[in-house]
């Protein structure tokens, strides 16, 4: 367990709840336990009528480098049919992805459907999980160091929900990120509409707090009403369909056949260890 890797904080009497990703030494890579802690924090604040706004931020220079690659296989182990020696069952893959990310109790669904206003403070690497946090939160402030990408897509193909990204930035730009291995700078993300405001690095915390405080001035009933209008729009935009497809396709993506010459990250990990596999991946995907 990493009990301190996500902190759930709220000053007494404050209407702002804070979820802080706190694993800076590992570029805030998200562990399975951290997803659980984020979910607990979201649940805790959602049930508290005093809380109007949830701020998600991170310690250190990065929001997150994404899901921790050391646990890529582990996520299937605890699901039914997952605790086998070699190939976890398809149901384990489906269930794990549903429970952690895309299902009704998954992290992305819970943020997207939070009854509170959600604000993200984005900085440094906002990769994979970080990209989805960006898409799921209501408001996103980023500093100039923020970079947005999902390197995992280059390894296994595109999974996850597409509808939010396309809605935010448009189909062809989305494909640049999805297919062509682009990493967007903060200013690109801002001009494409992925983030709401670009802030000087030293002002990010204070500007997020200022925005959160401003949002707390809205009546509770007003926030609830606005959020439910958003939920209705999300349904009309087929986001729910996108999340269902995300689980199914994500499970396929964990079950790929690699041809000669293609980079198989898990095989690299088994053969050369995690550190070497990450280094080899960086070399493979940057060598054109």
């Amino acid at each position: 367990m990493h009990p301190a890797s996500v902190r759930c904080e709220r000053n007494e009497g404050s209407q702002i709840g804070r979820l802080i990703i706190a694993r800076p030494d590992a570029k805030n890579a998200i562990l399975i336990e951290m997803v659980g802690l984020l979910l607990q924090g979201l649940d805790h604040f959602a049930k508290n009528d005093d809380v109007k706004v949830i701020v998600i931020s991170a310690e250190g220079s990065d929001l997150t480098s994404g899901f921790d690659p050391s646990q890529v296989e582990l996520i299937y182990k605890s699901a039914p049919g997952g605790a086998v020696k070699k190939v976890p069952s398809q149901r384990a893959r489906l269930m794990a992805l549903n429970l952690m990310w895309w299902g009704p109790d998954g992290l992305y669904t819970r943020i997207l459907h939070s009854p509170k206003v959600t604000i993200l403070a984005a900085k440094g690497m906002c990769y994979e999980v970080g990209l989805y946090l960006t898409l799921c939160c209501d408001l996103v402030l980023a500093d100039c160091s923020a970079r947005f990408a999902n390197p995992r897509w280059r390894h296994v193909g595109v999974d996850g929900d597409l509808s939010m990204l396309v809605s935010a930035v448009g189909l062809k730009r989305a494909k640049g990120l999805l297919i062509f291995g682009e990493t967007w700078s903060a200013s690109q993300a801002h001009s494409y509409g992925l983030i709401d405001e670009l802030i000087d690095a030293q002002d990010l915390e204070s500007e997020v707090l200022k925005l959160a405080t401003f949002c707390t001035q809205v009546m509770r009933d007003g926030i609830a009403a606005e959020k439910h209008v958003v939920f209705a729009s999300l349904a009309k935009m087929q986001i729910t369909t996108g999340f269902a497809a995300a689980t199914a396709v994500g499970a396929w993506a964990s079950n790929l056949h690699f041809r000669d010459g293609e980079f198989n990250f898990l095989r690299e990990v088994r053969t050369h260890g995690l550190e070497n596999a990450l280094r080899n991946a960086e070399f493979y995907f940057s060598a054109l």
Binding site: W153, R154, H155, V156, G157, V158, D159, L162, S163, V166, V169, G170, L171, K172, R173, K175, G176, L178, I179, F180, G181, Y192, Q238, T241, G242, A245, V249, W252, A253, L256, H257, F258, R259, E262, F263, N264, Y284, F285, L288
Partner: protein
């Protein structure tokens, strides 16, 4: 007329001209459809680059071109639908292609050329390129695809604005992905295609299936199905205009 070159995981399709596509030359459309379909079926190919020779990607149709196109739609309605907008037609073959398709544009891009840009996954363009909206003249044009690509306000602006967009404006709107010097155009396209081709083949297939399901939920296929209806409406409007 259509040249195909294979190099590793990349295929490059080069056309001498695209204007016959804007004249609704059904044979030409089917030939291009077949090359794209067969290339996509090649298990060694992951990305397809579509480009033209010459200084323009696709010139705007002349009045004569538009008359020929309209005649083709009227006299060979079923064949036109099958070649252009049906599920097995050229455009849906591109949108739902199993592999990634990149378009490379320079000079003028209009008529069917603009549709190819909309149907492709990625567009690299030279700074001198211009992009004219195809909607007023071509009933197979897919506004849903344009809305998804650029969002509704920009798609309407392109459709109703009347003038062709510069590469800079198209880039800002999200219609194209990159604008580069003409001298670097082909190299940039190859570089982007190679980046995409690093993905495993299973991943390429999965990506395209996921995109297909997304586009279906958004009504892209339905809009292609409406092409016949739009063609009839266009014909009725032209008839009324002549009667006045």
């Amino acid at each position: 007329m259509i040249d195909l070159k294979l190099s590793g995981a990349l295929a490059t399709i080069t056309l001498q001209e695209l204007e016959p596509l804007s004249r609704h030359d059904i044979e030409f459309a089917l030939e291009l459809r077949n090359v794209i379909r067969d290339t996509a079926d090649d298990d060694n190919v992951k990305a397809i680059i579509l480009r033209t020779e010459g200084s323009d990607f696709c010139l705007p149709p002349t009045a004569s071109d538009l008359k020929i196109a309209a005649d083709s739609r009227i006299k060979k309605a079923a064949a036109w639908h099958a070649a252009y907008s049906a599920s097995a037609g050229l455009y849906q073959n591109m949108v739902y292609c199993k592999k990634f398709i990149l378009t490379v544009t320079r000079g003028q891009c209009a008529g069917a050329g603009s549709m190819l840009v909309l149907c492709s996954d990625f567009t690299v363009s030279s700074f001198d390129a211009t992009f004219a909206a195809p909607f007023a003249q071509y009933p197979e044009s897919n506004l849903v695809l344009a809305e998804l690509t650029m969002r509704l306000n920009r798609a309407k602006s392109w459709m109703l604005g009347g003038s062709a967009w510069s590469a800079e404006k198209a880039l800002h709107a999200g219609l194209i992905n990159q604008a580069v010097d003409a001298a670097d155009l082909d190299a940039c396209a190859v570089s982007a295609a190679k980046a995409a081709a690093l993905m495993p083949l299973d991943g390429v297939a999965m990506t395209k299936v996921l995109l297909e399901s997304f586009l279906d939920t958004q009504g892209v296929g339905q809009d292609f199905d409406m092409a016949d209806f739009y063609a009839s409406s266009m014909l009725a409007a032209q008839t009324q205009s002549r009667e006045k």
